[in-house]
Amino acid sequence: MRSAKRKLIFVLIISALWGCANMDGGIGAKSSTGIPLGGTRPHAVQPLPDKPRFGQPVSEGELAAWNIDIRTPDGLGLPAGQGSVAEGKKIYEAKCGACHGADAKGGSVYGTMVGGIGSFTGSPRVLTPGSMYPYAPILFDYIRRSMPMDRPQTMTANEVYAVSAYLLNLNGLVPADAVMDAQSMPKVQMPNRNGFILDDRPDTKAVRCMTSCK
């Protein structure tokens, strides 16, 4: 009698412990057949005596060739150098025209890079650097990092300024005698400057209807 009671208490205690083990999904959790189930929650990373630090110091000077981004609204990062529309036409014809076509009107691989200004209220919208870019330095940033497609990051700053000037002129945004440099480029007025709104989603208002919905 006494021993049975003791056994019952023992079972209750084990059950309580068992429940705890199951609740926090610790390594004590087992299936009904006694097979360990392992932990079911993410394991916390063990606290380390000191944070590991494996980064090696590097100077901005060492990163000069990699540091190619332009903050395009104000042109921060535009390098020294300059290029004219006329120089840009020559460079374009040598390095760009094969894919983008004569006068950037579209070629064997890509569509036009000229025009489209005013097309956005209709369909289709014609996307070109002239119609789409809100800031002219985007041209410098993109050409330098990605173009020409077969030899990117090989053009000099002067060449990139010149090709940018040529494309801006073809789009009627700078005159034929324009010269692009770190000062002049951010000042070019782009027609899509105020064409953007920030992400304001969720914008749809779907409801969860289950029966006789339509």
Binding site: V45, K51, P52, R53, F54, G55, Q56, P57, V58, E60, L63, W66, N67, I68, D69, I70, R71, T72, P73, C99, S108, V109, Y110, F120, T121, S123, P124, R125, L127, M132, P134, Y135, I138, D141, Y142, R145, S146, M149, P152, Q153, N192, G195, F196, I197, L198, D199, D200, R201, P202, D203, T204, K205, A206, V207, R208, M210, T211, S212, C213, K214
Partner: protein, 414 residues
């Protein structure tokens, strides 16, 4: 004797279930012992990377058969979702989107740098990165352009072509916050530029708040190092956001006080909106689902039981429910969600369907943990401009089934 009677019982029960079809054929030709059971198979080679069965060769990534680029360096290939069970995409089937091809980068010489508005610019070698305490997390990965060919009328045939810029991956790497904190973030640093070492030097600006929340610097996927086409040897993964922000072949992280407004965040990856406007920095991939079986191009094997199954996901959280309609959206039934249901991850849904052999229109509609309900194309048309190359398509996908059991894309029609 006992054996025979139990076999008879089995045949009788089977016949009852299937209307006698098995019983009739059982009397004809017995199933042969196949050659595979009568001779040894291939021995285990000394070393080999295993490949799928040669009979599964049709399960492959494919480029779009609708929008064909005239070059294949800035292009994409799509995941065969109609052949994927579960929620994980095998590494060889994870969709690709590159802007200038796939580089082969030597991990011994590759360097990742952090600079800009930090206390101490740092560089990391690959064998340093893998020494940090690692984190592995499951996330969906979806291109912002998934579905762009199929808005108002069907152009694609299969779910691979309509939704295949989507994969499910277990990523392994280091939280970006650990590396940034080691460099020491200037309190004015509010945006982070991630830039690739590929020939496009693809780059995006990401808000610091997101970077410190759950962004990972990743070197492995699904139990092995990254594949070259997925960013080997190191990439960033920005959970729940459009795929292109998770810059591959990562070489540079720069901290700044404002976004850069690059081509990839102005002229591309922006949404056409009414009145000629464009929506910018729309990076969260909103709640979405698609039925992967039965799906476009498939053929139902006659009336009777079919499992309707598919995938649901949300960049805003977990999937809370998926509803399925077989009558074009008039009536809906809640599907079963298969565990595990994880944050910003593919979730598998299933519902049984007894097809009566008459035409049907199948649809799925997902809800996420924020209460957001997946919209129809018509819902999206009310608030966005569906013109040309439209991104962020998370509308309901209808598939029609005709009396012959042929399944077809019906986007914009149903």
């Amino acid at each position: 004797m006992a054996k025979n009677s139990s076999r008879r019982d089995f045949l009788r029960r089977t016949a009852a279930l299937t209307g006698g079809a098995v019983a009739a054929s059982a009397g004809a030709v017995p199933l042969p012992v196949p050659p595979s059971a009568q001779e040894p198979g291939r021995p285990i080679p000394e070393a080999m990377y295993g490949l799928p069965s040669k009979y599964e060769a049709h399960v492959a990534r494919r480029r779009s058969d609708v929008l064909k680029n005239r070059q294949n360096w800035s292009d994409w290939s799509m995941t065969p979702l109609q052949h994927q069970p579960g929620i994980i995409t095998p590494n060889g089937l994870i969709f690709e989107r590159h802007h200038a091809g796939t580089p082969d980068i030597d991990p011994k010489t590759h360097r990742l740098v952090i600079h800009g508005m930090v206390r101490q610019p740092l560089q990391f070698a690959m064998d340093d990165l893998v020494r940090y305490p690692s984190v592995s997390r499951f996330y969906f990965h979806e291109c912002s352009g998934n579905g762009l060919t199929d808005w108002l009328k069907p152009a694609s045939t299969t779910v691979q072509q309509t939704h295949g810029l989507l994969s499910g991956v277990l990523w392994t790497g280091v939280p970006a916050s650990i590396l940034l904190e080691e460099a020491g973030i200037d309190p004015r640093g509010k945006w982070v530029l991630f830039e690739g070492a590929d020939a496009s030097a693809h780059a995006r600006s990401i808000p610091m708040e997101k970077v410190l929340d759950d962004v990972l610097i990743v070197y492995a996927m699904n139990g092995e190092r990254l594949r070259p086409e997925n960013g080997y040897p190191v990439r960033v993964v920005i959970p729940g956001w459009e795929g292109n922000v998770s810059v591959k072949w990562l070489r540079r992280i720069k901290v700044g006080d404002q976004p850069w407004h690059l081509r990839s965040e102005t002229a591309r990856y922006t949404d056409p909106m009414p009145e000629g406007k464009w929506r910018q920095f729309s990076m969260v991939m909103e709640c979405k689902s698609v039925i992967t079986s039965p799906s476009g191009g498939q053929q139902l094997k006659g009336p009777g039981f079919h499992e309707i199954t598919g995938l649901a996901w949300s960049g805003a959280g977990k999937i809370r429910a998926v509803d399925v309609s077989v009558d074009g959206g008039r009536n809906w039934r809640e599907a079963m969600l298969e565990e595990p249901i994880m944050d910003k991850c593919l979730t598998r849904f299933k519902v049984g369907w007894n097809w009566d052999g008459t035409p049907a229109v199948l649809m799925s509609r997902a809800l996420d943990s924020t209460g957001y309900v997946q919209p129809s194309v018509q819902d999206m048309q009310k608030v966005r401009a569906i013109v040309g190359f439209v991104q962020h398509h998370n509308a309901i996908q209808p598939w029609t089934v005709n009396a012959k059991g042929e399944v077809r894309n019906a986007i914009g029609q149903a």
